[in-house]
């Protein structure tokens, strides 16, 4: 029998059993849509976490005072303030630290802000122009801090988008004046929107020159005077992270006169550590979702398998008739192959469409992103068609080898 004729025969057989064919297709379809959506949800979550962390800065290393030990944070040996502008300046030396691209010292405290009658409270960071490239941020209006602002201790501020909308709900922020803890600052720029990460809202902050902050806002006196909240560093490349980490560690130990890293009064945290923790968490999530998806595919597959087996068993008589009229075993096999793969393909494509439609609609309903994983789409279609073919064609091809009369007699 020719292929077109085989396809026609298969179509006739499927159309003749409308409800059974429909149910088979539906079983495959739901399984595949479920796989696409669950894998998509997992990947969406993973991507969101990864993106949030990457948005913190590229190749970022964070030096914080005190050391994180098993017993928690402890202060340094001797020195009252563990991180200083001197440390930051030393880290900028290309001689000592060839793998560090940029350094941004940071002093930070929360302040009440005011502009006209509007008030707001946000963290205020005293830092240098290097902060923006290190944190992978930019300004959408006005300009960032300049080196001159830092040298002269200018009263200028760059504000986050949330601060801007809170203090200036109805208009431009650049050029206006805000009170930071009662001290007037001129807004020179507004930061791009970065969204919230697990521990900080990246849009709710104010940047001012570090010199201005130290002279007018933070640490003018007391034991912590002159000490930094943190030093942000960026490595020259992701590959240089290890070297940059080592150079930072070595230089600071030397400057702080600490003989052994175990006694360090500071902690260097590479961004990659955060990233790998987060991605391992969402990786676990993905494994879980893929597990659920695999189970739903399996359940769907068993349904399909069952329908195919029953349908072939019921049709052994038909196989007998076809053989008695001159059908060869390969004619029979091909007919069932076309039928089974037709069902599998219809269910697979239908399921893919439903899954893709769901991936568009679902984020609007539940607010979680759904990333379409094409390997999962392709894989689930292959599995569905495979199950249909194996459990449709194998018993049919066995029946096709029976003597026609034995097939005709089966009931």
């Amino acid at each position: 029998m020719s292929w077109p004729e085989t396809v026609r025969t298969a179509w006739e057989a499927l159309a003749g059993r409308r409800s059974r064919s429909g149910l088979t297709v539906l079983g495959i379809l739901i399984g595949i849509a479920a796989v696409i959506l669950t894998v998509g949800l997992g990947e969406g979550a993973q991507a969101r976490v990864g993106h949030a962390i990457a948005s913190l800065g590229t190749n970022l290393l964070i030096v914080t005072p005190g050391s994180a030990t098993a017993s928690g944070l402890r202060g340094g040996l001797g020195s009252a303030s563990t991180l200083t502008l001197g440390d930051a300046r030393a880290l900028q030396s290309h001689l000592d630290c060839p793998d560090i691209a940029a350094v941004a010292p940071v002093v930070q405290r929360s302040f009440g802000l005011a502009a006209g009658s509007n008030t707001w409270t946000a963290p205020v960071l005293g830092t240098t122009p290097a902060y923006l490239p290190i944190r992978n941020r930019s300004v959408v209006a006005g300009a960032g801090l300049t080196a001159a602002d830092v040298t002269t201790g200018a009263s200028v501020a760059v504000i986050g988008s949330q601060v801007a909308t809170s203090l200036f709900p109805s208009g431009r922020a650049v050029g206006r004046t805000i009170q930071v803890g009662g001290v007037p600052f001129t807004v020179v720029g507004v930061l791009n929107t970065a969204g919230a990460t697990a521990n900080a809202n990246q849009d709710d902050l104010v940047l001012v020159p570090i010199t201005t902050a130290q002279q007018q806002l933070i640490g003018r006196s007391g034991p912590q005077a002159g000490s930094l909240s943190q030093i942000l560093l960026s490595a020259r490349s992701p590959q240089a992270m290890g070297a940059a980490y080592q150079e930072t560690q070595d230089l600071l130990l030397q400057l702080h006169h600490i003989p052994s890293p175990a006694q360090a009064d500071f902690t260097v945290t590479p961004q990659t550590a955060l990233l790998s923790t987060a991605s391992s968490v969402s990786g676990t999530l993905t494994v879980l979702l893929v597990g659920i998806a695999a189970i739903s595919l399996l359940v769907g597959g068993i349904g399909v398998m069952n329908i195919m087996l029953v349908s072939v068993t019921e049709r052994i008589r038909e196989i007998g008739v076809r053989k008695a009229l001159g059908g060869t075993p390969s004619d029979i096999r091909r007919q069932f192959l076309v039928e089974a793969s037709g069902l599998g393909l219809a269910g697979g494509l239908g399921g893919a469409l439903l899954g893709l439609a769901g991936a568009l609609v679902l984020p609007q309903v539940i607010g979680n992103p759904v990333d379409i994983s094409w390997p999962a789409v392709a894989g689930s279609i292959v599995v569905a068609v495979g199950i249909g073919v194996v459990f449709g064609v194998y018993p049919a091809s066995r029946a096709a080898r029976l003597a026609p009369i034995d097939a005709l007699r089966s009931d």
Binding site: M1, L325, G326, T328
Partner: protein, 253 residues
């Protein structure tokens, strides 16, 4: 009545019964056995059957129920294989044929009419009749025409688009006969073709077979009915899997 179903090229004239011995046998069974084992019990459905049927013969097979008639017919139709003994069809030993060759033989040489009709329930009468031609690779247009002609030849051209469940037993049997003869086979085998039919319908179906025989086809049919057997030119009697008598019918009508 059956004229439209056959292509002119293969139409053979009826031969006088006396010439029968001169033509080589289409069917030659030599000491054929068929055993069925049902667990510990072995049923011998055929016990050493030898039989030769020449081209153009019209043979009736008779015998009580369970005597092995259907078993014999299935072997003749290449629907089953003997446990022992040889079956030569047109001179070729069937035991040496591949599945593909057997399928071709069933498709082209043999038209089989089952007692249970064995129509595919979800296909129309016309599509059922088209089936053997689909396996023979006849193109669609020709297939449709020939199926329609065959259905008209058996007198149910107006039921071509009905499904078997929408047809009476006699009509279904006619569809089955149309399907058996649409490929213009040289050998027509029928297992109690009138067994399920009312007597009026039976007579019409028998007239069909007589017509096909008159065109030169070899016809073998199973029947219980001596009246039916009277239409044939030769009667073979079976009992307990053995041939007990094989004689020409005196004075055929």
């Amino acid at each position: 009545m059956a004229e439209a179903a056959v292509s002119p090229a293969s139409r053979r004239g009826a031969r006088p019964a006396g010439e029968r011995e001169l033509t080589p046998p289409v069917i030659q069974l030599q000491d054929v056995w068929k055993r069925y084992s049902l667990g510990a019990v072995v049923v011998e459905a055929l016990r050493g059957v030898s039989l030769a049927i020449a081209e153009g013969e019209y043979v009736a097979v008779m015998g009580p129920s369970g005597s092995g008639k259907s078993t014999l017919m299935h072997l003749l139709g290449c629907l089953d294989v003997p446990t022992a003994g040889a079956y030569r069809l047109a001179g070729r030993d069937v035991a040496g044929m591949s599945e593909r060759e057997l399928a071709a033989v069933r498709n082209r040489r043999i038209g089989f009419v089952f007692q249970q009709f064995n129509l595919l329930p979800r296909l129309s009468a016309a599509r059922n009749v088209e089936l053997p031609m689909a396996y023979a690779g006849v193109d669609r247009r020709q297939r449709r025409e020939r199926a329609r002609a065959a259905l008209e030849a058996v007198g149910i051209g107006d039921r071509a688009h009905h499904r078997p469940s929408e047809l009476s037993g006699g009509q279904q049997q006619r569809v089955a006969i149309a399907r058996a003869l649409v490929t213009d086979p040289t050998l027509l085998l029928a297992d109690e073709p009138t067994g399920n039919l009312a007597s009026g319908q039976a007579a019409e179906v028998l007239a069909l077979f007589a017509g096909l025989h008159a065109q030169g086809r070899t016809v073998v049919l199973i029947t219980h009915d001596p009246e039916v057997a009277g239409h044939a030119r030769r009667v073979v009697r079976l009992r307990d899997g053995e041939i007990t008598a094989d004689e020409p019918v005196p004075g055929p009508r």
